[in-house]
């Protein structure tokens, strides 16, 4: 009995110690990424290539999802607002929910599964096929050459993607609300403009998306770099990237929202 209890406790203890240890390794890795970022800023071509693979290639899914989310918001919002006879507020509802929450959060979730998983898989495979080791043997620091450009490319892409998601969503809401249902166009836009504040809403949304971008990319890079160099290891790391970064996005979103919109 006592022995079983001791075993359970040992198991818990080992998990905690392992978790803390991994956190430490991840933090150190993140610090190294920042430390070795100098080189890739002297060679912007490296970052441009990564903006292409994480930003441009995520564009389609972001734009299409944004449009549909906005259209659904338009429909649902209209249904609800109609009950109170304030359909004109549809613009506010669509814009605020997108700019403050859905834009940064959903764009980041999509980004995690599209670009984050790709980053993890790519780096994991580079490690499994000894490309990382080969680079080290060629006296090229893989953190500076492979990790840092991907980090900055993705972090730069994220706010743009979130902004495009929101803009596309508002367009979708406009399409359903104004063009299809026939809400008054003037009040749709003017109410929206009166209610959406640049600093409080738009800028805070951008800040959120930057934070999410950093979190997703840092997780994706670490998982890739830390993956066991086997097919199974890489596939598990990819899954972990999506799961961990999705949870991180939602958790961070709560914290950021609590800080940013506390006064409202």
């Amino acid at each position: 009995m006592m022995q079983a209890l001791a075993m359970v406790l040992r198991g818990i203890g080992r998990r905690v110690v392992d978790g803390v240890w991994r956190m430490g390794v991840a933090t150190r890795f993140f610090a190294l990424t920042l430390l070795y970022s100098g080189q890739c800023f002297r060679r912007p071509g490296l970052i441009v290539r990564e903006i292409f693979s994480s930003g441009v290639l995520s564009l389609i899914i972001i734009l299409v999802s944004g449009l549909f989310v906005g259209m659904v918001l338009g429909l649902q919002g209209y249904e609800t607002l109609q009950t109170y006879g304030s359909e004109e507020a549809l613009g506010i509802l669509v814009a605020l929910s997108l700019v403050r929450e859905l834009g940064p959060v959903v764009a980041a979730l999509l980004f995690a599964s599209r670009a984050g998983s790709a980053i993890t898989a790519e780096i994991g495979l580079m490690k499994a096929t000894e490309q990382i080791a080969a680079m080290e043997m060629m006296a090229v620091n893989p953190v500076a050459r492979v990790v840092a450009p991907r980090f900055w490319g993705a972090v730069i892409s994220m706010p743009f993607l979130a902004a495009m998601f929101s803009a596309m969503g508002i367009f979708g809401g406009y399409l359903v609300g104004v063009v299809l249902i026939g809400v008054d166009e003037g009040s749709f836009w003017s109410q929206m403009q009166a209610a959406v504040d640049f600093r409080e809403d738009v800028l805070n949304g951008v800040i959120k998306s930057v934070v999410f971008g950093i979190a997703v990319t840092a997780i994706a890079l670490f998982e890739g770099y830390d993956a066991p160099p086997t097919a199974e290891g890489v596939s598990r790391a990819t899954t972990r990237t999506v799961v961990t970064s999705s949870l991180a996005i939602l958790g961070l979103d709560f914290i950021l929202t609590a800080i940013m919109f506390r006064g409202v």
């Binding site: 096929t129 490309q131 043997m137 060629m138």
Partner: protein
């Protein structure tokens, strides 16, 4: 370009000097008291069965691991005192061929070979082009410069990786299982390339392999590693004539001998339950 700087001739013509080197993963001793030397212009082979520690030895020479005990001098530099900067400086004078080539899959053959040149020099584009074509020509794949690594056969990938390894004109080239998984023709081609490059470039080559027949044809000196110690050493001729049971088993590819066919196990009859 650092890769072109000749080694200080005053030091010696020793490319690699290993004295009483030991290495342990955690608590497990993988290498015990290794002595090994490689002279400039030599091809030496480190042979042994799988898991004997020969790849670990190669990684120690490449500086990917640090020895637990003993001396390890590469090109006259003590590896145990090197910091990261010094290690990277030394590695510019090393080339390494990985087991399956380890080509960068997102770059073309040309860009793979040009990689180190682009990273370590500010050479103009035409000069990089000329250098890359020279290296690719040396391995006979100048015509394949536009292909992606995924379009190459295993043997071709190995040769491209070799061209990449010699891009910076290293003084020392390390080969990790260069013959693994190659068809007989590619095998011969790769073996000849290793010999020819060593002679023409005046480099030192260290080949880790378990392919006895192919490597005995091209190497100058062989070290047999078993269970973390050097079991035997000598020129290919000496080893072919060796009567040491381990070497004999290895050179002639016998199934059973000092390296047993069976993994240590309890008595067969007992496991089958026929005794009792």
């Amino acid at each position: 370009m650092h890769g072109l700087a000749p080694a200080d001739p005053a030091v010696s013509d020793l490319s690699i000097e290993i004295r009483d080197l030991s290495f342990a993963y955690d608590q497990r001793l993988v290498l015990k008291g290794i002595d090994l030397t490689a002279r400039r212009g030599q091809v030496i082979a480190i042979m042994g069965n799988s898991g004997c520690g020969k790849t670990t030895l190669l990684r120690l020479i490449g500086g990917a691991l640090k020895p637990s005990r003993g001396r390890l001098l590469v090109e006259g530099t003590d590896m145990s005192t090197l910091d990261e900067r010094g290690l990277y400086r030394l590695r510019r004078r090393m080339g390494m061929l990985f087991q399956f080539g380890a080509l960068f899959t997102d770059l073309t053959v040309f860009e793979n070979v040009a990689f180190a040149l682009r990273e370590h020099s500010d050479l103009p584009e035409e000069m990089i082009r000329d250098l890359v074509f020279m290296k690719l020509n040396a391995v006979g794949l100048r015509g394949a410069h536009d292909l992606k690594p995924s379009e190459l056969s295993g043997g071709m990938a190995r040769r491209v990786a070799l061209a990449r390894a010699i891009a910076l004109e290293p003084a020392l080239i390390l080969y990790d299982e260069p013959f693994a998984g190659l068809d007989p023709i590619s095998l011969g081609v790769t073996g000849n390339l290793i010999r020819r490059l060593t002679d023409t470039l005046g480099v030192t080559s260290v080949v880790v392999t378990h392919d006895v027949q192919e490597s005995l044809k091209i190497v100058d000196y062989v070290y047999f590693v078993s269970e973390g110690v050097i079991e035997a050493r000598g020129t290919p001729a000496e080893l072919r004539a060796s009567v040491l049971p381990y070497v004999h088993q290895f050179v002639h590819g016998e199934a059973d001998g000092p390296v047993p066919f069976h993994y240590p196990a309890p008595d067969y009859a007992e496991d089958l339950g026929v005794v009792a």
